[in-house]
């Protein structure tokens, strides 16, 4: 993608408000190698200090800067403007979908993380410390399955992209389920059947309809769809074994 010629301007519409609000237009200079985070920051610092948004590391490690850019959920720090619009000149910035809006581009993450807890997406060490070090062989199918999903940083892009989350507010969502799957495959974890029960309640893993938006948009190339498929298989094996 070319860096823009001098004098080329960018028209940016930014969501202002909460659940109700409006898009506020800004015009700023297009610069070479500009990221969308650069754009938002420039707007907040030079144009309207009342704009609220989140970022932290600005290098693609923390996931704080996720928002919807021209209809697609992305990390703004790792998204070049040129990647979104090529030689065009319009950007539309909205907060992540499926989250309650705190203000402008900042969303309420509480429900997202509550669902991690509901899915038992946390390590369960068991009632007693183990007598010896756990042997975790890296090349086993289980460890490979876990490794495929453990890099999740909880940015919320997948949750924002998921239609089932939009249609069913109780659906646990791809991130929580992906995390649960990594723990199901962790030989040290002691949650066992309890976690399978947690992920297979009414709006659990079986509510996934394999739209695969989560897999399509995950900035870390994690594939929650296949993690959820793994949970579906594990849940069915459990149902067939125990009949519940």
């Amino acid at each position: 993608m070319t860096g823009a010629a001098a004098g080329v301007m960018l028209e940016v519409e930014v969501w202002r408000g909460g659940e109700t609000g409006h898009f506020q237009p800004f015009v700023l200079a297009r610069r070479a190698h500009q990221t969308v985070l650069d754009v938002v920051t420039e707007i907040q610092r030079e144009h309207d200090a009342t704009l609220s948004y989140r970022f932290a590391c600005r290098v693609g490690m923390c996931g704080s800067c996720a928002m919807v850019v021209n209809g697609r959920p992305r990390w703004t720090c790792r998204t070049r403007v040129s990647e979104v619009i090529g030689d065009g000149h319009r950007l539309r910035l909205e907060p992540l979908r499926n989250f309650a809006i705190v203000k402008d581009l900042a969303v309420e993450m509480t429900q997202f993380f509550d669902k991690w807890r509901q899915a038992q997406g946390y390590f369960e060490p068991g009632p007693q410390p183990q007598a010896d070090f756990a042997v975790v062989r890296p090349a086993t199918p289980q460890r490979r399955a876990a490794d495929a999903g453990i890099e999740c940083i909880g940015c919320g892009v997948c949750y924002s992209a998921c239609d089932v989350v939009a249609w069913d507010e109780d659906y646990l969502g791809p991130a929580a389920l992906n995390r649960a799957w990594t723990l199901v495959n962790d030989v040290r974890d002691r949650a066992g059947e309890a976690r399978l029960a947690a992920v297979s309640a009414s709006s659990g893993c079986q509510a996934c309809h394999t739209h695969m938006s989560c897999t399509q948009f995950c900035p870390k190339a994690i594939e929650p769809t296949y993690a959820i498929a793994g949970l579906k298989r594990a849940v069915l094996r459990r149902v067939l074994r125990s009949g519940s």
């Binding site: 209809g71 697609r72 992209a161 394999t210 938006s213 399509q216 594939e223 296949y226 498929a229």
Partner: protein, 113 residues
């Protein structure tokens, strides 16, 4: 603007799968009622079949056969992903599904004459 997630193939496939399923669910009671007209003799069934030779009805018949083929092939894709850990990396699986449906549709139309 349409959101990006609604342009990608998993969503489109799921929508076709869902809408064809709804169409089939609506169609089935009608189908059962039509066949049950045979309870009143072959002539009763024949007069029902005659209705299907009208152009609009024949078109809807083709549509329902295509809907059935679509729902089945797209359903097989979901079963493959869910139970055979099938990783869809390219457009090939969907293309195969659509090609199979196309073939069924064409054969049906040709056979209807």
């Amino acid at each position: 603007m349409m959101r990006a997630s609604h342009k990608q193939r998993g969503f489109v496939a799921a929508m076709i799968h869902r809408l064809s399923g709804i169409a089939l669910a609506v169609f089935l009671p009608i189908h059962f009622l039509a066949l049950a007209s045979a309870l009143n003799g072959a002539a009763a069934l024949d007069s029902f079949l005659a209705v299907t030779r009208q152009p609009l009805v024949a078109f809807l018949e083709v549509a329902i056969v295509v809907a059935l083929a679509l729902h089945m092939t797209l359903g097989l894709r979901v079963l493959a992903i869910e139970f055979f850990d099938f990783r869809e990396k390219t457009l090939v699986p969907l293309s195969v599904c659509l090609a199979a449906v196309f073939a069924v549709g064409i054969i049906f139309i040709l056979n209807l004459g």
